[in-house]
């Protein structure tokens, strides 16, 4: 059985404000609600 494609997928999200790292390589997947 093929796994369903997540509705939203993010990989390696990083965000810095100045020298401060707020997000460091965040990954997630959101599936369709049932």
């Amino acid at each position: 059985m093929t796994a369903a494609v997540p509705i939203l997928r993010a990989e390696g999200i990083s965000k810095n404000y100045g020298s401060k790292a707020i997000l460091k390589e965040v990954s997630l997947a959101l599936d369709r609600g049932k």
Partner: protein
């Protein structure tokens, strides 16, 4: 349903804003329905934000009572989901109105890049004027619905004073106070054509 929990400053709001591309991540990739989002194309971003919306909640909206600030990322990739989202959006205003003897809705637009800053400053106005402000809107085009409320008619002057200050902030940020509507009698005191670059373009002397 997925829930994001973390201490203040952990990056919860930043993550939501990065997923919506309201704030551009420094690194990373995003796929919607299996298709990678090209964030270099400005035109495509508008369509993306229509499908991946953020609702910022400020104040004591019922489901989040006691939470100073919260945000929700809502996905509406099809017409059925979008219709449900609109139903929720209408219900939010009715709930706020029903709970508060003083209820004044306002509609403003700030530059998309300034939404996070503007929404982040709303609690400062709540403290200063001792009122509650519920804000939500369309992140894709910078339109923010401000619902200013108070518990008693005697608080109304403070609500009106807060509106004036908020509208001035919107103009200072390069936004427009007409939102989806007009200026009308209520905003006349704050409005001046020289302060609103959108309106200035319509002035015959500038054409």
């Amino acid at each position: 349903m997925k829930v994001l929990i973390g201490p203040s400053g952990a990056g919860k709001s930043t993550l939501l804003q990065c997923l919506n591309l309201l704030v551009m991540p420094d690194a990373g990739r995003i796929w919607l329905e299996g298709r990678e989002v090209d964030r270099s194309r400005r035109k495509g971003l508008h369509g993306y934000r229509r499908q991946v919306g953020i609702i910022f909640l400020v104040g004591d909206l019922l489901p989040f009572r006691g939470v100073a600030r919260a945000g929700a990322l809502l996905l509406a990739p099809d017409s059925e989901k979008r219709a449900r989202l609109w139903d929720v959006r209408k219900e939010v205003s009715l709930r706020i109105k029903g709970k508060n003897p003083v209820y004044i809705p306002e509609d403003v637009v700030v530059p998309v890049a300034g939404i996070a800053e503007f929404v982040g400053r709303i609690p400062e106005f709540e403290r200063r004027f001792e009122i509650a402000i519920h804000a939500f809107g369309h992140a894709g085009d910078g339109n923010i619905h401000l619902n200013l409320t108070a518990r008693s008619e005697s608080d109304r002057p403070r609500v009106e004073a807060a509106i004036g200050e908020l509208l001035r902030l919107v103009l200072a940020m390069g936004g427009t106070i007409s939102g989806e509507h007009g200026i009308g009698a209520v905003k006349r005191e704050v409005f001046h054509p020289d302060h609103d670059h959108h309106f200035r373009g319509l002035e015959p002397r500038n054409s």
